[in-house]
């Protein structure tokens, strides 16, 4: 494990150097919030943020992604044959991703990559990505990563972890992929013991600051149909607008829709994020909709995250505790409260 110290200026410079061998995505301030953008000279990366408004999931699993293309031209001998779109899987690095968002990739992995089916796009994007995490010195009051198997300096899934030591960054390689990334970084010097100690102290300190303690321990012992029939769903779902904010900002939501788009004789099959909050999500061709009421859709979201996923993969809840849905839900439906309701039901 390599630990290196960079001053903040050195680190930005090193990243610029790395742009030759990687597509480097860095958090950039865009209006009121931060978002991941490709590294370039015009906008400097800004590592002083709570978290990006949108999770980094779109860099591995784009909101809209072309799957296939085809020609509808009658004169084309290959007309109507659906063909794969060539993709660019050159290495990319997400620098400054928070450990919770990285943890999100671990949560969704069994969905995209399991023994029955393997999603080629997600897997190839994921495998070509170096996750360079930035530890959270100052977790938000809405964060509850520690309750769901993560933590502000959680290292699993990350390839590199950055510690913000004030004037300097201590950057430590965690995996082979991460070490390879670091070895290409120019500048910096080996970290001394004092720095390592300081970094560890930061991590311990931050772990203490994650206050929200969301109970999820008893969820696995509940019976699906009991929770499903619980009396609180109408109340929980009343305020919901059925917008897709929670699911689109979430690092662990994976649902998508497949659409064909045609322009002239050129057709594309595109997959777009979808949301279980939309009534259309489950509308049958016959007009029947098994989840036509909004409380049912709200219930589906929480049941899926906090119960179905738990039962299906036996690996905890489908939530990385990033707190985005808590902070940005326009009507303040709070997953922490719902988790408590479900856990104690």
């Amino acid at each position: 494990m390599t630990n290196k110290i960079f001053t903040k200026e050195e680190w930005t410079k090193a990243l610029q150097g790395l742009s030759d061998s990687y597509k480097v995505f860095v958090p950039v301030k865009d209006g009121d919030f931060h978002t991941f953008k490709p590294m370039n000279a015009t906008k400097a990366p800004d590592f002083d943020f709570q978290n990006t408004r949108l999770s980094a999931r779109s860099l591995v699993y784009p909101q809209a992604e072309r799957m296939f293309e085809y020609s509808l031209d009658e004169n084309d001998p290959e007309a109507n044959i659906i063909k794969e779109t060539p993709k660019d899987y050159s290495p990319q690095a997400i620098v400054g991703i928070r450990p919770c968002d990285a943890h999100g990739f671990k949560i969704v992995k069994p969905n995209f990559d399991n023994k029955e089916y393997r999603d080629p796009w997600w897997i190839q994007h994921f495998e070509s990505t170096v996750l360079v995490g930035l530890g959270c010195n100052q977790p938000c009051s809405t964060c509850f990563c520690a309750s769901v198997g993560g933590g502000p300096f959680n290292k699993d899934v990350l390839d590199v972890l950055i510690y913000d030591l004030g004037a300097n960054f201590m950057v430590s390689g965690l995996t082979e992929k991460g070490e390879a990334f670091l070895s290409k970084a120019q500048g910096g010097k080996a970290a001394d013991d004092a720095a390592v100690k300081q970094a560890e102290a930061l991590a311990t300190e931050a772990a203490k600051k994650v206050k929200a303690d969301v109970p999820t321990d008893k969820l696995k012992d509940k019976v699906i149909n009991d929770l499903f029939a619980a009396p609180f769903w109408q109340d929980v779902g009343f305020a919901c607008l059925n917008c897709g904010t929670c699911t689109y900002l979430c690092p662990t939501c994976w649902c998508f829709d497949i659409q064909d788009e045609v322009l002239g004789k050129q057709g594309d099959r595109i997959r777009n994020w979808d949301s279980c909050m939309f009534p259309l999500f489950t509308l049958h061709g016959s007009g029947h909709n098994p989840r036509d009421q909004k409380f049912q859709r709200v219930r589906q979201r929480f049941m899926h995250k906090l119960k179905y996923y738990v039962d299906k993969y036996q690996g905890g809840v489908q939530c990385s505790g990033c707190g985005r849905c808590v902070r940005y839900c326009p009507v303040n439906i709070d997953i922490r409260q719902v988790a408590e309701l479900m856990n104690n039901y």
């Binding site: 784009p62 809209a64 992604e65 072309r66 788009e261 322009l263 050129q266 594309d268 595109i270």
Partner: protein
């Protein structure tokens, strides 16, 4: 009002035209048709809101 909104967004005035012509007013039809064609022609090809191949990853 749609015309107002579209113009507000940047569709040039003159691209969208409305008129009211009775079925007996063939000459009025021709007049208006000439006006419409001239006004659109003067603006040149449309630049905005044309659906192109989806800009997606």
């Amino acid at each position: 009002m749609l015309k107002g909104l579209l113009e507000h967004i940047g569709i040039e005035p003159g691209r969208l035209n409305f008129s009211w012509i009775s079925s007996a007013e063939a000459t009025k039809f021709v007049d208006v048709a000439q006006q419409v064609a001239a006004s659109v022609k003067a603006l040149g090809p449309a630049r905005y809101l044309i659906k192109k191949r989806a800009e997606v990853a």
